[in-house]
Symmetry: D3
Subunit: 273 residues, 6 copies
């Protein structure tokens, strides 16, 4: 059952990239209610367009394809590109070259606002006993986090120089439920993800704002005090899943980097030899 809409505002045409991914599929029916036309794009095949939907297959690294994808949209929710740690080449193509192509298209076509799926891995080398604000220096935990930090800086540039507004969402762990003890802190329910996206799309002024995407979990490492103008108020909490999660993972080793750092397993996994 869908959440009650948190805003009555509607866009004409909204673009959702990465629409075939796990968050894209979750958001497809949700975002439809906030626009007349929802354009869905991905490199992978998409389910057939329904009423008020359009589908586009586009490679973000292909500038012309991106230009077409962006044509005529009022705002963009950008989930596209690589969404986990990967070797350098796909990250370069999807998250660096691809993002540049997206913002250039947005600039040329005067798209006013982008909601950019950044990641908590931008600050994954903070310790789990530290609390981080969105103005503290970044400490990416891998190439993926590095590419998302690039994206945030690109968004800042396009606001300062070209007037394209962005909210960069440093998404925690958005799944149906938290899978391990780390996610008790980082979990973002799908309903809260919708709340965050819609707040970001409809807040009157955002310039370039960075905000962590998490539910109202009992434990947290992230402090959104500089983003209260976005109007995001999470309503869910990972607490209901605590007993099940603790049963699966009763003990953790503080000396393990995956426990000590906020990025979890990302701080050690990856393509490095």
């Amino acid at each position: 059952m869908l959440l009650e809409p948190i805003s009555s505002l509607r866009f004409g045409r909204l673009l959702l990239t990465g629409a075939a991914g796990h968050l894209g599929r979750e958001l497809r029916p949700r975002l439809k209610r906030y626009c007349d036309t929802l354009r869905l794009s991905d490199l992978s095949p998409l389910e057939q367009a329904g009423a008020g939907e359009e589908t586009v297959v586009a490679d973000l690294a292909d500038q012309a394809a991106v230009e077409s994808m962006v044509a005529g949209v009022d705002a963009i929710v950008h989930l596209g590109g690589v969404s986990t740690e990967m070797p350098w080449e796909p990250i370069l193509a999807g998250n660096i070259v691809g993002l540049y192509n997206l913002y250039e298209a947005a600039r040329r076509q005067r798209v006013r606002r982008i909601v950019f799926a950044s990641s908590n891995h931008v600050t994954g080398f903070r310790r789990q006993d530290e609390v981080v604000t969105t103005r503290d220096p970044v400490r990416p935990d891998g190439l993926y986090g590095l590419s998302k930090a690039f994206g945030e800086n690109l968004a800042q540039l396009y606001w300062d120089r070209h007037g394209v507004e962005t909210v960069s969402l440093r998404i925690g762990s958005s799944y149906a439920e938290p899978k391990d003890r780390r996610m008790l802190a980082t979990w973002l329910s799908f309903d809260d993800l919708e709340r965050l996206l819609v707040s970001s799309l409809t807040a009157p002024v955002v310039g370039h704002t960075v905000i962590y995407g998490m539910s109202d979990n009992r434990t947290t490492w992230w402090d959104n005090r500089y983003a209260s103008h976005v109007g995001y108020r999470p309503q869910d909490s990972s607490e209901q899943f605590r007993a099940a999660v603790e049963a699966r993972q009763p003990s953790l080793d503080v000396a393990d980097p995956a426990t000590r750092y906020q990025g979890g397993a990302f701080v050690t996994q990856g393509p490095h030899d």
Copy 2:
């Protein structure tokens, strides 16, 4: 129906200035419950005094009148003076000379605490994508905001030098309901205004404390972290009015100063040629 009182403490004689204004009329029955005698004052005519009430007509610019107005009171809620952008002369008379007269009278008559209606326009030139604390430098958006900044500094002086305590309330938009999209962020319900006033009057120690006056709105630009000792906990939210407000005002132009700055229309309106 009146709010349940948030404190059982009672003052002997409490002075409410600006009692004929829109907030003064709203607060009259509310404050009555926290004192034995409520003295009401204004330059404009007031409704006849009821049981436990006294009325005084006084021009704040008239030092002798102010002295009489203050005689015998235990605490002051000061809403008097000019409460919106105006030409320099009335602002000078009401908010600068008038405030000096009020504090001089309070000093001489050993009034222990004043709750001073300052205004969010003290920081109206902050952008709507900024979050401001009460210790950040002021940036008034007009002569009205400038006069309120003067008032806060005067209050600080009378605490540091003369031991008169003040809570300066940077009131947002206190109306029955929010009138436009800006007020979704700045709205202060009348019940929350009462909560704020009574907390400010009854907190054991305030010295000179500055606090923003807003309800628990989903969106906010103001961070009261340095005023938690006041004990103000808003219970209302502008969210219930969102759909109606958005229907009236679906789109805003980020390039418009009235949208970009927290002061809204105040940043451009005013008496300047």
Copy 3:
């Protein structure tokens, strides 16, 4: 009736020191549910051990006794030592020498985590119109607060150098109900104390974290923003007791140091000639 457990994690053997004190007795049945064996220790006699309990009489100033007391435990809740303002000698013995003995024993026996009952009196010379974070410089209000500041620094050392984790709880006023107007700000309900302790014991990573122990009171002087990773969420509030407390203590004198400073009466009482 006991609170629903806030974590399903269980320790093998948990040590509770100061178990014969007023908080120790309150926590005894509560902590039992989070461990297989609860070892209780005090200098004073303890009630007979029940199922899953062990009792130890130990003087903290006696290193060998402390070593035995700590043997075989997985974690420690340390309430032992002096818990109020006292002459120098007992404070030195219980809170300085005793604490050193406890941490040395924990280091040698590889106890992984200690929850240390520090005190709000570590910052008792802050004014009641100031809001303090756990990273602000300490300002103890007496020898007791001084000894607790020593304990926090010792805990930091044992984390940095020896890998023993500690959460230092700057406990406010933990009683069945608040006794005076100061405690409306500082009160910590017994249920919230349990929430705080269990969060501190079970959070995945704490290093050395300092956190104020208070309920969700309307008024507060303490900002736990740097400790949100602990996952403490108070559920109680002193507000229900306000009317009764205010009836007992309607007026306070701002000029009285016991009103002006957060430490209350501690800032003037004590053994000094």
Copy 4:
């Protein structure tokens, strides 16, 4: 002998107000070298105009007189008004009404930059063992300091709203030499005052900048870190006068407010009954 000019830039017509005062007289020959025409104004009689000089007698409280005084100038060095603690009426006339008149004239006549003689008494209630930056909240020590805080806020408003740039100089103690031990910290030599003024006039961008005016004294309470873009580098020090000053004033009483607070004797002297 005059200091080597610190900039080769020249203004067409420069206005120096308060030119008959002790700093005005000192600056008259110094500023002449940085402009084609130096207009000198005061309420008191001025020495006859020399080559490249113009003199104007004007009451700052007289709006028409101020308008004439400002006509045709490129920049203003504003020393005019009251420059010490005085009763409210002259401070109101000279430093509040007078300053409003000056900025209104500057706005209407498109004067681009004003150097405003504010005062260290804007923060005179800071203790002498505190170090203050120009972004910390103000704490005026009297009506004079309060009026200067008003001036700084007015300057901020005219920059934010009208594009008139100001450097607000919180001048310490500018005399030929320090007169007492407090001035060992607050002294501003005349040469350094010239350096400060000329830097403030010629820095490419200042918006509204606040800066403390002090020489490179061994002891200081003021931190100009946010004003390094002004390019002020003091070259003098009070140290050469230390022995003489200490001989005159060997001991100070820490308990005396005039010793404890940065404002010195200002914190207790004044027109209050």
Copy 5:
């Protein structure tokens, strides 16, 4: 004539990339004195290797070439890649792909320290009346600045994850002398550049440290307080060139973005259509 060496420490083999550029040529004889062998690399032809020199032609975008270039070196001074605003493609190749290649080679070959020529354009959208520290959020003024921000984040990652140390130098304007009024603030003399490089190479511990590269100019916008452990003490100043610069450029327009922002002309120039 060369500067007296500021350290007696010597490296075995030091790599200088971008050695054919204007700073590379300036540094070639200077760095030679701090190493047994100076390896010089560039995409452009280099002057023939002298005693103790080696030359390598390498394209940073060619991973194998970079691997060879890095083989056997103890430390790297990386000036290579694009050093001014350019279209996206060369910036991508030289400063993003090229930098990744360099760090991967350094990681695999266990090079311990890199001095990375970042740029002040990483924060070029700060205003000239703001003072910026190296921990404030970045605001690049173009694609070049964006690529340098990427480089700083990459350096942070390789320190946090792989133990490769970097000092990122946000170089101002390093020329024989300042060319315009902006460079009076941003100038870095060649001698001071050497001081900065050698400090960065020889400081015992740097982790990843960011530092602005500027001489001891009278005016500055940059605060290196978080980098004092590097031990950089500039000895030169732009002041000696002031009169000549001001003669060439007597007036600036505050409304011009090139005057208002720290990045100067970079904030508007560039390849955008």
Copy 6:
């Protein structure tokens, strides 16, 4: 040859504790010039008293002896107690019990100011690539640093509660010359030590101030910005010794805790089994 006195102020009777130690012997002739009578105390034998000198043998752990030692003095320079890492018992006796005895004696006998030799080891667990201010949380590197942190807190208490002023000097490495590369950062020349002591003794108001004691070394980790009111201006630098030091210790291992942390070898040495 002795430094020119930096103040002409003189004390009646000044007490120097720890006078037989290496700093005590160095300071004995220097401090004599700032007082009529210099009382020298130590547990070890002292050289015979000269003109204007008194000698006292006293054990700091003996309260009565301390009381006599303090009788009749105007100010105290406290170097006594343990001055390096040691087992717990002597640190407890000298630096905890002994310090308590000293402050109690000072309180009872109304000594107005103490200069307390604290230590940089109070923050020895900061990394060498961090810059620390005197308001950052302490991180002692051993029992010695822990005892000095206790001393600073005790000094704060005696100021807040009893009006005894203290300057706590976090002394770096005060020797005739720096002995290793760490001391290039931490060195405090004897002349600068005198400057620091005399500034601390003669500054008009210090309350309780913490300041790092270091010369004007090219490299530093410590930021004294909050202590500029003390008026300490170092004149020496370790730079003259750099070549000799680097020759002795050309390479350091960043992975070695003694290199990585500010406390140097203290972070691993000590009495722990």
